[in-house]
């Protein structure tokens, strides 16, 4: 038995290691080597109820914070499973040598947005890189045993399917252009849909969204595409947005805006319990609203000047260096100007509790999949969801996989890529239509513009990108309510009767259909 994994970030590595621990071999495909995956960029930390900070934290608390910040749009049993597994996962990372700090109870944790307890394990502001180094080395152990075979610089081209069953994948070596087909069930772990907003996200250029767009065009269902997270504290730098990690506020940073010439700590006034650490959807929307008030300036600042020296040195030295390097401002001395930016995709490939997609033999995990985060993701839950999701996807794939003989067949196929210009055009339309506060007219206008672009799509890849973009806009049109990251000025309230459901996008022929389905643990 051999399983194909597309993507070698945390979710892909976690799946590969889980398979290998069970003696199952895998082909690990990634557009670049693991050191270049977005997971290395994660900063603030990973959540788990370790209860090391003397706050009587429980797994149930973690579950409640996750499900309520997600506005009840995630599968409760799946979330429960993730929260219950979290302490074991983080402790295991410790035994793989991640250099966490320890106190006499165990791994030290920090406060993070939307959580009532200190529950986020971290290594300074470089948590993702530390986790990845440890998992890359662990993966290497199984590479040496021949259980994991890596294909770096290989791009996913498409699935091989027979009657709604996935039996393999076509991949292309981008260094040699050799294109081959591999047989086996497939786990997609291709990361978030950043490419939809080219140059406008905090993440990597590698996550083009092409993998999700391709499987969508092959009939696989996507869900909750309208749920796009704007992180409150980002800054435009060359070619992208730079994230100022939530750790900045977790360690004491405060948001303010000048109102009638005086600093107004609006989050503290409006939300006395969690203050600056409200869930991200709430903070971002507040920032937009206060900046639009006539008595306020238009710029929100993050004030970290009261953070103590030892906290800077021991916990966020790298965050400080980043501000000095990119902004020329030392945040220990002066507040920094921040604004919300696109950071994470809660929606993606629709999976059930076992990480099965709507196609047999195809599984998905990590940010490319829609699971765990509902309408708004908690900081620190995505690294956790990627590792846990990778494990579950691997376990299910292993259980269901047929005994295949490995075969690699050369295929003659012209590469098709989305051109820079086309990507830009699609992104600009989407960015206008899917801001923090959305309006129906703008969404409908975007749908029309995207439809008009169809005649300009030069190849299969561009058409797939366009269809994915259309599906996102259409999902946003159809969800006529406000919930989590999806806030509509024309439907400001939550509507549980009609919309405590997943928006599901499916394509047949060239028709995209959006429906709302119950959040069910098992695939229908």
């Amino acid at each position: 038995m051999s399983i194909i994994i597309i993507g070698a970030g945390l979710a892909g590595l976690s799946a590969a290691v889980t398979l290998a621990q069970n003696g199952v071999s895998s082909n690990l495909i990634s557009s670049m080597q693991s050191e270049r995956a977005q997971s290395v960029m994660a900063e603030g930390g990973i959540n788990a109820c370790l209860n090391t900070m003397g706050e009587d934290d429980t797994v149930e608390n973690h579950f409640e914070d996750t499900i309520s910040s997600g506005m009840y749009l995630a599968d409760a049993e799946a979330v429960r499973g993730m929260c219950a597994a979290a302490p074991g996962i983080v402790e295991r990372l410790g035994s793989l040598g991640v250099p966490f700090s320890y106190n006499d109870k165990g791994i030290v944790q920090r406060s993070f947005g939307g959580q009532r307890k200190k529950r986020t394990a971290f290594v300074k502001s470089s948590t993702g890189k530390m986790l990845m180094t440890a998992l890359i080395d662990e993966t290497r152990k199984f590479e040496a045993q021949g259980l994991i075979k890596r294909y770096p610089n290989h791009c996913f081209i498409r699935l091989i399917t027979e009657d709604n069953k996935c039996c393999g994948a076509v991949v292309r070596n981008t260094y040699t252009n050799r294109t081959v087909s591999l047989r086996g069930s497939v786990i997609l772990a291709s990361g978030g849909l950043n490419g939809l907003f080219d140059g406008m996200t905090t993440g990597t250029t590698q996550n083009t969204s092409d993998a999700a767009a391709t499987v969508f065009s092959q009939g696989v269902e996507l869900a909750n595409l309208e749920m796009i997270q704007y992180h409150p504290t980002t800054i435009a730098i060359q070619g992208k947005r730079l994230l100022i990690s939530e750790a900045a506020r977790g360690e004491g940073g405060r948001l303010f805006i000048n109102r009638n010439g005086k600093p107004w700590y609006f989050m503290e006034e409006k939300y006395p319990e969690l203050k600056n650490l409200m869930p991200r959807d709430v903070v971002s929307a507040e920032m937009v609203q206060v900046a639009a008030m006539p008595e306020c300036d238009s710029q929100v600042y993050l004030d970290m000047t009261a953070i103590e020296k030892n906290v800077w040195n021991e916990r966020i030295s790298d965050l400080r260096e980043q501000c000095v390097h990119y902004l020329g401002i030392d945040p220990a001395n002066k507040p920094i100007p921040v604004s919300p930016g696109i950071h994470f995709f809660m929606g993606g490939i629709r999976v059930d509790r076992e990480h099965r997609t709507s196609m047999n033999g195809l599984y998905a995990a990590g940010e490319c999949a829609c699971q765990y985060h509902g309408a708004n993701r908690l900081g620190g839950n995505s690294l956790l969801g990627a590792i846990y999701g990778g494990q579950i996807a691997a376990q299910t794939a292993m259980k269901e996989a047929a005994d295949n003989t490995e075969e690699i067949i050369d295929i003659a196929e012209e590469p098709a890529e989305v051109s820079c210009g086309f990507a830009r055009t699609v992104s600009e339309i989407l960015y206008k239509a899917l801001p923090i506060l959305r309006k129906e007219e703008e969404l409908i206008a975007a749908k029309e513009e995207l439809n008009l672009l169809k005649s300009r799509a030069g190849n299969r890849a561009e058409l797939n990108r366009l269809n994915l973009a259309l599906a996102a806009v259409m999902s946003a049109i159809e969800r006529r309510e406000s919930r989590g990251a999806h806030k509509r000025t024309d439907y400001p309230d939550r509507d549980d009767v009609s919309f405590k459901k997943q928006s599901v996008a499916k394509i047949s022929g060239d028709k995209i259909d959006i429906s709302f389905k119950e959040i069910k643990g098992r695939r229908d």
Partner: protein, 236 residues
């Protein structure tokens, strides 16, 4: 400012490399990564009137966290996303691929040998890690290695087809070595001696080049002290 850019082009592994020269306007804060993106988005000719076809290069994070964009800029190995035009102090910019690896296309090189080398020295934990106050800073710094290959560019003893692996291997190895509890025998210790200790001239040309700012010299002395002098950080 107006700059002259000289870029080494090579259409494929087998093709003959050549230089293409073009003139470009940008400000001092522009990074080489932005420059490459802008040139690729524009339709322009070089100084001899030939069209500038898309320049192949690799990037991912655009904030010096992934090592993808390493290349040689005015003679020094650097990350394109972390090199501002103003820092180069010349309005002639020369951009070339890293020289120690086979060229795939233009500025893209095949760095697979880095992974193969880490496999060859058994760079993984044979036992559960021990992390304590003594080794966390070391493990943190070593774990930051981007596998970019800049250090190899300047190492007088490294070539891609040789058995000496240089800093891109001993930096990651120093994490593993620092976290293993004291034992008589580990594969990584044997391999370390063979592929690093015996080949390193300790010239430390690699020291100040690391774009991640890793203290490469300390990593070398730390791993030597564990692997060669058996001074483990922990007794388990």
């Amino acid at each position: 400012m107006r700059i002259t850019i000289k870029i080494k082009r090579q259409e494929s592994r087998e093709a003959e490399p050549y230089f293409q020269i073009l003139v470009w306007d940008c400000d001092e804060s522009t990074t080489v990564a932005t420059l490459l993106r802008e040139i690729n988005a524009a339709v322009i000719n070089d100084t001899s009137g030939e069209p500038v076809n898309e320049i192949a290069w690799e990037c991912s994070c655009l904030q010096k966290k992934c090592g993808a964009c390493a290349m040689v800029i005015n003679g020094l190995p650097r990350l394109a996303c972390d090199t501002k035009i103003g820092e180069i102090k010349s309005n002639r910019i020369i951009i070339e691929p890293l020289k120690k690896f086979p060229v795939v296309r233009d500025l893209i090189v095949d760095r697979s040998v880095l992974r193969e080398n880490l496999l060859a020295i058994h760079n993984w934990l044979e036992r559960e890690a021990v992390v304590n106050k003594k080794n966390t800073d070391l493990a943190y710094d070593a774990s930051r290695c981007l596998q970019c290959g800049c250090c190899l560019e300047v190492c007088p003893n490294f070539t891609a087809d040789d058995s000496f692996f240089s800093a891109a291997a001993f930096v990651p190895a120093s994490r593993i070595l620092s976290e293993l509890p004291k034992r008589k025998k580990y594969e990584i210790v044997t391999e370390y001696k063979k592929h690093i200790y015996d080949g390193c001239g300790k010239s430390l040309s690699c020291h100040n080049i690391c774009p991640a700012g890793i203290d490469v010299e300390r990593k070398l002395s730390n791993s030597n002290s564990v692997a060669i002098w058996k001074r483990f950080f922990s007794k388990e």
